[in-house]
Symmetry: C2
Subunit: 573 residues, 2 copies
């Protein structure tokens, strides 16, 4: 135990206990603690493994196979109830890492693993590495006992052991981590994370197998962004809860919008690399406009096209006497606009090249100088941006010297450009109306919410299932629980080799094996459903108000999966 | 009916019906529609009036009496069950106005009035004036029938008839409104609004009585800010729900904060003229810091004092290894800092005087010029502000030429000044830690939420009770439902003369009769409870996570009143 490193003071372990003891639970938390997550039928007693066919990666089969000689091509497995359990299991220890951003249900993955391990053998032990992969590399950990687990069942957040964004990808890190695994006699490591973390889990599994370390590695699919999914991973956990929290407050804002009838609310939502969250919230709340980054990219839309579309809706609504509305904007939109991508890329080069000169200029001079260095198309676009956005693009650089696209207030960018265009339209007699705006950005509000029943059940099953995968001696597998729009009894539990989800992609100039990201499918039912309603939603006021997440009411309210999942499974919403 | 004015097109009435027909309800809305709000025992059957003692205004009795000769000094009334109802009531018509910002429960006030009226006589009719007082003055209205009311029971928002901020205060407006009241044979007008709207209701009641118009006026106390309360009005409706929505998302942010352990979240909350919302949310969520405007004013704290306090907490937490935390900031803080108030006042004058010259300068020159015109103390404070805040204070003026304090991003102002100070402290070796920030502002997210059971019951009772006050022939009264921390059966229903809540205050240079605003009482239990925990909350991590509003679970979760109300009634939380 080296807890002092965790909090960087001598008695931090003591502190943690004090915190636990003192933190008073809300009445809802106390009632919610008693919720027993539902398990698939197959996991309710002893299980046996049904081995399926060998697998291939989704693309670049040769390259992936060469990179993962020991863990490529393994079969999909499924668990079945074992009516005649053969033997008492030997006790073993397991370690877990929470990697990356928080997602609702993380604590139930942990409690699911814990209960799964204890169901196999009461002597099994669970260790949590602190503050993400860093805790694994630096040997900071704590044992997760029944009394600690009890405090966190069905709660949001990753605060049970903390999370972190250290990338676990170098052999030195693997070797360093192996020392503590051996010291604690840990048989398997569970990594709970998004696509990158699970890619790294696969690399680690291959590495340990290659050196004969005798440590299994299992991944659990987490990300509220919803971009880690495929036939076997129907959804990543946390997406359901986060979208329901965002939809609750979007619904409230829409009620306000429709009561006061005087504002356009521009609402930015999490989702840098895919627009699943915006799409799900649009299906839940029926706003007047929802932009979908993948569509913008596919249709090669320009910023001007997007502004024109919003202006069209605003001016048509004004003709009906409605000077109010709602616009959902995915966080990553800017990077999906091909012309903006090109501008940002050239800006990176220009500012790098002329850095010294630029640093001596004041803001106005700087904007002019940068403008003069850009190629004509980019220069024109740059000039069309509101000044504060152009400045953001020109000043704030990350540690690699790149523009920090995530800091750009896309919601303000759009509303300012729309306001300007509407003024021009008004001058030409094409628009008469009022355009007042409010801005919102929802991210942190949903990432640590208490999980919905769906996420509470799903994560608990994923964790419990992970314990079974470990017991089956598997490595390089991801915990998979499927058939999720059916009652949880009928959910299918098993595992898939992580390598089967991989392809080769360019990352920082190098080809790397990575889990293929699931973007919004423009031929998929969720998008098509939204697209079919879009015009009607734009020119009417058909807001839906989903209200807050409910835990105690009728099942159709409390257990309902996401609209996205229902549609993807061929159901109606 | 002149609905065309409402939507400014010929067929708007049709449009409203289409919207109603088409708008699909969420599953929760459908289940929630069946909720039957609970009524006080006294209102469950026929009622009779118990007349209390004559009243006095809270201050300036002579002035108020002179201004309200016909409606001053009336008695408090209370309703009791009438075992032997004497007579069948004659049918009558009632009009309602929703005034000002939305608050959860407004629709239940309307349905309570409707049900109350129908319980008296099935022939009674209810008319809603559209988009606030403007609809009354301009004769825009609709009849509220059973089928319309049904659509809105237990829902948030004011969209049933819309709301607006037109001030109803001039005799010409009263006369214009009287025409439509007479045309529709309306016996009484119910005004649902905050302190200003209820002040105007009292003025209107006095006016109609004086001219013998034979129209009663009844007020209903609404404001999520919580600043309209006293012995008889224990809370204004909407406060409970709005605070619970804010507390849900603050709790979620705190979980994130405590999981990632890398940000200070500065969270601004609604409440310009009082800090009740921030205080209630602090009691609900136990953040590390919550600023209370009334305390800042009472202790004559400077901006520098506030920044120092936050820096003290941040640096002490850093010593414990904690570079994260949460800070709640009431929206109106700036205006409660005496030195800022003085600066803003001088800025108004300076910019007015030198407007022409200033308008020709660029931003930097303008800041310098303004600085040179200020008196030394104000100049120093002005110089200490972050540049963007100084610009906001210097550029944006409202229609009266005043600084728009509400546009100032107080949460950014504080975090920027704290960051700067921490840098200085670090340079002097007094602080070593990381200070990364996130900002949030919650307002629109809670104003139109579906009401909690508490607000649903309370507003329904207020509305039902208003119908009884009308039937009792009263005018210039406010609907009062008390004893709110007891089960709703035991709530006490009645009315109080609005004049008894009044005193004289200076408004735009003139002394006016107004309802006394209830600020946070620094000797009251809610504040004292928070103050007693403050140091502990600052230097520990004792967040509470209230979770989402629940409608279907155990009563201690679903029916719990606000912490503020519980404490004010001598209960423990």
């Amino acid at each position: 135990m080296q807890p002092e490193k965790y909090c960087r003071r001598p008695h931090s372990r003591g502190l943690i206990s004090i915190t636990l003891r003192k933190m008073k639970k809300s009445v809802l938390q106390r009632a919610r603690a008693d919720y027993q997550p539902k398990l698939p039928k197959a996991l309710q007693g002893s299980v046996k493994v049904k081995v399926g066919e060998a697998t291939e990666s989704v693309a670049n089969q040769k390259e992936i196979k060469d990179l993962f000689p020991h863990t490529y091509g393994m079969p999909v497995v499924e668990f079945e109830a074992d009516e005649n359990p053969a033997r008492v299991e030997e006790p073993f220890n397991v370690g877990i890492i929470l990697s990356g951003g928080q997602a609702p249900g993380g604590h139930n993955v942990v409690s699911g693993i814990f209960d799964g391990l204890k169901s196999l053998n009461k002597e099994n032990r669970l260790y949590g590495f602190l503050m993400g992969p860093a805790g694994f590399i630096n040997h900071q950990y704590m044992e997760l006992t029944a009394s600690i687990i009890k405090e966190y069942r069905n709660t949001g957040g990753f605060d049970i052991i903390g999370s972190g964004r250290t990338k676990l990808e170098k052999p030195e890190q693997f070797d360093e981590g192996l020392k503590i695994l051996k010291e604690l006699n840990i048989k398997a490591l569970v990594i709970i994370g998004g696509d990158d973390s699970n890619t790294n889990a696969a690399v680690l599994a291959e590495y340990y197998k290659n050196i004969g370390a005798d440590v299994q590695v299992i991944g659990v699919p987490k990300t509220i962004d919803g971009d880690l999914k495929n036939e076997w991973i129907e959804t990543s956990f946390g997406f359901d809860t986060a979208c329901k929290v965002y939809s609750e407050v979007i619904g409230n804002i829409q009620r306000d919008c429709n009561s006061a009838k005087k504002y356009y609310h521009f609402i930015k939502l999490m989702g840098r690399s895919a627009s699943h969250i915006a799409l799900e919230c649009a299906l839940e709340t029926q706003p007047n406009i929802c932009l979908i980054s993948e569509e913008v990219q596919a249709k090669r839309m320009t910023l001007d096209n997007i502004v024109s579309y919003i202006c069209y809706v605003v001016s048509e609504r004004a003709k009906l006497g409605w000077n109010f509305g709602t616009v959902l904007v995915p966080e990553g939109l800017i990077e999906f606009i091909p012309s903006m991508k090109s501008l940002i890329s050239e800006l990176n080069d220009v500012i790098e090249e002329h850095n010294e000169q630029l640093s001596e200029l004041d803001e106005v001079e700087k904007l002019e100088a940068i403008h003069s260095y850009l190629t004509p198309t980019n220069a024109e676009l740059y000039k069309s941006l509101p000044k504060n956005i152009a400045l953001q693009l020109s000043l704030d650089r990350d540690s690699h010297g790149n523009v920090q696209v995530s800091l750009i207030e896309t919601e303000s960018l759009l509303s300012e450009m729309v306001a300007k265009r509407l003024e021009e339209m008004a001058a030409e007699g094409e628009y008469s109306g009022k355009f007042n705006t409010q801005h919102h950005f929802f991210g942190y509000e949903g990432r640590c919410a208490d999980p919905t029943n769906f996420d509470a059940d799903y994560t608990y099953a994923l964790g419990y299932n992970a314990a079974m995968l470990i017991n089956a001696g598997l490595t390089g597998y991801m915990s998979s629980v499927r058939n999720l729009t059916e009652p949880s009894e009928k959910w299918i539990a098993g595992g898939i080799p992580i390598t089967m989800m991989m392809n080769m992609e360019r990352r920082k100039g190098e080809m790397k094996p990575v889990i293929q990201k699931a973007l919004v499918n423009l031929n998929g039912r969720p998008y098509l459903k939204f697209a079919s309603m879009r015009e009607t939603l734009a020119l009417n006021t058909l807001y839906q108000y989903p209200g807050p997440i409910q835990y105690f009411g009728p099942s159709e309210i409390c257990d309902r999966p996401s609209m996205t999942l229902l549609l993807e499974h061929g159901k109606e919403i």
